[in-house]
Amino acid sequence: MKKVEFLYPELCNIYAESYNIEYLSRCCEELEIINTRHGEVPAFARGDVDMIYLGCLTERKQEKVIELLRPYTERIKELIDKGTIFLVTGNAIEIFGKSIEDAGRIIPALGIFDFTAKRYMDVERHNSQYVGMFRDGDGEEILLLGHRSQFSFAYGDFEKTKFVDIEIGIGMNPDTKAEGIHVNNFFGTYSLGPYFIMNPLFAKYILRKLGVDDTLLFEKEAVEAYEYRRDELRRNLG
């Protein structure tokens, strides 16, 4: 059995993030899902896991989760270096940067990657969609779709560590087309919600990375919906 740890589902499930894990587990019976609540020691701290998922959360809970994970910063670095799969969606990605600024207040984050984030809580929330290309180091290319709705942006040099090369939409902030973080098997994106549903080809990619059969539940319907949405976004936003 492959171990997949869903960190803090009671805090990190505001836009149906739990469906990422539910979908994977329904696609493949060889996955053992570990739901770690906020009062518990993470499974990754007690031993190896094959994949860790952390989803989007409110601003107050984002700060709480930074403190929950801070004692495990070195362990997280070790797991990233070892090639453990991480999927991090929405503003959870900011937890792995250096800091988050909010109205002059600096909130130190885990400092694993070299970028900072800034919240703009009094400005209209940023809503957008993206279409972009993910290229892994082994020549595989997947066109990814994302949608974002957020109060903050991230700043830094993302060219070498970007996850998605944006074709339509913005990257980590409105001035870059580099979106997300991809280091070894760490995949982080500002996109919200059920990312695997929106990107069935990426779900298959992750299942292959986990070393299990990559057949998806309702694969035909999932891919049809993905292709329709891809074409619609290109037609309407391209």
């Binding site: 009671e10 805090l11 499930n13 505001i14 836009y15 149906a16 739990s18 469906y19 979908y23 329904r26 906020h38 409110t58 601003e59 107050r60 809970k61 709480k64 809580m121 929330r125 809503n127 957008s128 969609q129 949608h147 709705s149 109060f151 919200l192 919600g193 059920p194 549903i197 929106m198 539940l217 309702f218 319907e221 999932a222 049809e224 919906a225 329709y228 949405r229 619609e232 309407n236 936003l237």
Partner: protein, 486 residues
């Protein structure tokens, strides 16, 4: 001051022209007033009684009930009942309530208010009461998340302090924390167990205890996170209610409300749903606070129905064809409606008219709400078919399949006009067209087309269909149920 009067006169002139043209609900006069005089809301004179109604769900039904109640009690009321619940709508509401010399000429301003705007408008308006119906999960694009909305509303109370009174839902563990430590007096309404046996939702709006981070538990729930709650690890629990529904009979459509002085009064309900029972409880709380006698409130409620922009029904050939406001993108409202579809026992077919426009100007319809909403509730034997149309049809289909709905019950097409072809004309009791509330007319058109096809198949002339004027909101005595042929 000169700028204010220019704004007042110009906007009143535009309003008069709009009225002559039959566009009294156009909020451009309010927008004009705001553009000419950015602090128009602060400078315009206010009626003696200003009531703001906000919250995620129940605003429109509650404020429509209250408006009708106040008019019934003899008050003149300015009410933004045309859906303009933003800055321009407030300006228009208030400019209608004063003379050209800025003297109040109406008794009450009733402001249905978007939660997002309260922080920077209520400080200028200084309403006597701010009623918050609840805070639930709403549209991601418009409202972010409940914690963000809470902060936006709380800003209004921080600015106003003791200048206003908060009327809050004791059964909502999120919004009941509003106005704490602000100096604002608080009045709570709440409800005893109505034995609704609510389904469990996929997404928990509250998450954890807001005080200590523990797991909140419930003695009972009404729906979603609304109920009688407590935290085992700290003293966070449902506060005592000033207006407490001691018993609720949804089937018999009555509610008994106990007041602070211990007196109890029975009132009729406007429908058999728990969320409309809350809307009645909320409206009664405000009516009683402003001094309307319980007997008058009860007599008035006997005449009330759910507003036509939320629900209508056409009967034809033994089948009821409903439009039913569902608020797509609003996860809590959509899940609650899906639960109702399962629990309402009739054999039915459900039509989704839920997709928002997707174009360059509206590029952000996401699919998060589809996965936050409890499609699983629709897996009920009394739901024979689910028919979806619109640009999200493939996403609805996938979600329905993942929710365990048998494929043979699912009919998804891109083109709206094909919907009637999939609706049965026999073997069912009801058809529900669940429509996104911004598409009242579109939802009505879909339903009417379904009825017309049934008429055609039955040999009746479809052009004879008698439908609704959805924006005739004076629901006093008017019915939202019709026979197709009159």
């Amino acid at each position: 001051m000169i700028r204010f009067y220019i704004a007042l006169w110009a906007s009143k002139l535009l309003y008069a022209i709009n009225r002559l043209r039959g566009n009294a609900r156009d909020d451009r006069p309010g927008l004009l007033a705001f553009k000419i005089c950015p602090d128009f809301l602060a400078r315009v004179a206010k009626p003696k009684l200003v009531i703001t109604i906000t919250g995620t769900n129940g605003k429109t039904t509650t404020s429509t009930l209250l408006r009708n109640q106040l008019v019934d009690a003899g008050y003149s009321v300015s009410f933004n009942d045309w859906g303009a619940n933003l800055h321009a709508g407030y300006c228009l509401n208030l400019l209608r309530a004063v003379t050209i010399f800025n003297k109040p000429k109406m008794d009450v301003s009733l402001l249905e208010a978007d939660e997002n705007t309260l922080g920077h408008t209520m400080g200028m308006i200084e309403p006597n009461y701010i009623l918050v119906t609840n805070i639930c999960k709403d549209s991601l694009r418009r409202n972010g998340h409940p914690e963000y909305i809470f902060d936006r509303i709380q800003k209004a109370f921080e600015k106003l302090g003791g200048k206003t009174t908060a009327i809050l839902n004791a059964n909502d563990p999120i919004s009941r924390q509003l106005a704490e430590n602000t100096g604002t007096p608080r009045i709570f309404f709440g409800m005893a167990d109505a034995h609704t046996n609510p389904f469990e939702n996929r997404v928990n709006d509250l998450g954890v205890c807001p005080v200590c981070g523990g797991d909140v538990e419930y003695n009972y729930r009404h729906y979603r996170h609304i109920g009688d709650y407590y935290c085992p690890d700290c003293d966070f629990k449902t506060p005592e209610s000033d207006y407490y529904a001691t018993s609720v009979d949804l089937e018999g459509r009555s509610i008994t409300i106990k007041e602070r002085d211990g007196s109890e009064h029975e009132y009729p309900l406007i429908s058999e749903t728990i969320y409309n029972a809350f809307n009645v409880l909320t409206a009664v709380t405000v009516a009683r606070e402003v001094g309307i006698r319980p007997e008058a409130v009860a007599a008035f409620l006997e005449t009330q129905i759910v507003t036509k922009i939320r629900e209508t029904c056409i009967k034809y050939n033994g089948i009821e064809y409903h439009t039913y406001g569902t608020k797509s993108q609003n996860v809590s409202a959509a899940s609650t409606v899906f639960e109702y579809m399962a629990k309402e026992p009739s054999v039915k077919e459900v039509v989704f008219c839920l997709d928002e426009v997707q174009d360059r100007n509206h590029p952000a319809e996401t699919l998060t709400w589809i996965y936050e909403t409890d499609y699983e509730f629709l897996k009920s034997p009394n739901i024979k078919k689910i028919i979806c149309a619109g640009h999200m049809y493939l996403n609805h289909k996938l979600r329905l399949l993942l929710a365990g709905i048998p494929e043979e019950k699912i009919f998804c097409v891109e083109e709206d006009e094909r919907v009637p072809d999939f609706v049965d004309t026999e073997g069912i009791d009801k058809v529900y067209v669940l429509f996104e509330i911004d598409y009242v007319v579109k939802g009505g058109r879909w339903r009417d087309n379904i009825v017309r096809r049934a008429m055609e198949l039955n040999g009746d002339d479809p052009s004879k269909l008698d439908s609704f004027d959805y924006f005739d909101n004076d629901s006093n005595g008017a019915s939202n149920v019709k026979e197709a042929l009159n």
